[in-house]
Symmetry: C2
DNA sequence: CCCCTCAAGGAACGTATGTTCTGCATAGCC
DNA sequence: GGCTATGCAGAACATACGTTCCTTGAGGGG
């Protein structure tokens, strides 16, 4: 199907629709587009919107005010969810504890919109920014963002955020229960596991994703 | 400001607005909400929307059809952009080459909606899924997604996607030009750099972000 | 009991907004 | 020259949609 690319007017319209949506959270009306793109008539906007729809850039719902859906590469975007960034996680400092009750009441520093694919199935996840390189053995570097799902049930092999009481340290490791003690396995297979007493560990949550912005 | 939480009706409304937007790409009208949430009158919807706005869950533009903006944690979501996933990257295989011309014409496998923060300033970035653990020294594991900005100008210290002709290998490393040869430095400081001839390397792009979904 | 607020129902109103129709250029084609 | 497709202009039209007003009913205070 499809054809050549878009002409300048249509490109301008696409850009405007994207920007408008980003700025205001909803789509522009035909007259919004008309004015902002310097188009003389609503019918011209409609005419070009039809083309944009035919070429697969947008989807329109007829008779619906502001009923434009932006498609990306011809397909619908992956569903995403807002994830609150609650603070920092660093080796030497206690982690912000999140209980069922405090959920929602802690003021997020920021909110990231992330594809569901990278989150667990659970809705209630939060994000922490990593300070320092102490968790490099979990393939997590300074400045990374980890997505954490608060403790519910931990299974062997889960990557968890754990507070080691004696060492006064936060760590990210895969966890395995072995009788009375717990084995913490670094993600990097070439590194040795460490063993801790079950009493010495406080599991805060399960890491479901890591994000890194480079340089 | 704010008060207690939302009542069931308001919670239902919030959920509906989110789902509607996700499904159709634009916001519901008051009457859409009325019908789908089993509310008897538009004025009741309006009444509760005012509350949602007062409590900071949404922002409304008066007189504007479907003019609802969803706020998350009281603040606007970070702007995000659709990033096309173009395929796989694996140690033994050539990378899908992306030139200025082929941009836009390659059919993306998928599209991810990502916060701008994790992307470079450039618009034209794409994503590749990583196969295998051969790039673990760059803190990149099997199954990760790397966000790549096509080659423009590479600076010393940039993390790049490089094809080593002789070795027939793709690799992710920080790059440093040292006269006639090139030093490729693993991200993990404990690992040794490798050196290659400038003729032997084909830089495909610059890695601007890494995403990992765990288990 | 009266008065007030919170929550809701029902209907009417006005305008914001998509649609459509008529007309007019320009360009390519046979 | 006719014929058609593309792209634009202007206006009228129909309705989708937010707003507002009038009521009602259940609590709570005095």
């Amino acid at each position: 199907m499809a054809g050549k690319g878009l002409n300048p007017k249509q490109t301008r319209m696409m850009e405007f629709i994207r920007e408008f949506d980003e700025e205001r959270g909803y789509k522009p009306s035909i007259r919004d587009i008309q004015q902002s793109c310097g188009i003389s008539s609503t019918s011209v906007v409609d005419y070009n919107l039809r083309i944009l729809e035919r070429e697969g850039y947008i989807r329109r719902d007829r008779e619906v005010a502001r009923g434009i859906e932006l498609l990306e590469g011809g397909r619908r975007r992956r569903a995403s969810t807002g994830v609150p960034v609650l603070g920092y996680i660093a080796a030497g400092e206690p982690i912000p504890v999140l209980t069922q009750e405090s959920w929602g009441s802690i003021e997020p520093v920021d909110v990231l919109d992330l594809p569901r694919e990278f989150l667990g199935k659970e809705r209630e996840v939060y994000a922490l920014r990593v300070k320092g390189t102490s968790m490099i053995d979990a393939l997590v570097d300074d400045g990374d963002v980890v997505i954490v799902q608060p403790v519910t049930s931990i299974q062997d092999g889960d990557m968890v955020v754990a507070w080691l009481k004696v060492e006064k340290e936060v760590t990210l490791k895969r966890i395995y229960r072995e009788g009375n003690r717990i084995r913490l396995q670094p993600a990097n297979a070439s590194m040795q596991p460490i063993y801790v007493d079950s009493e010495n560990i406080d599991v805060q949550g399960k890491v479901v994703a890591v994000l890194r912005s480079i340089k």
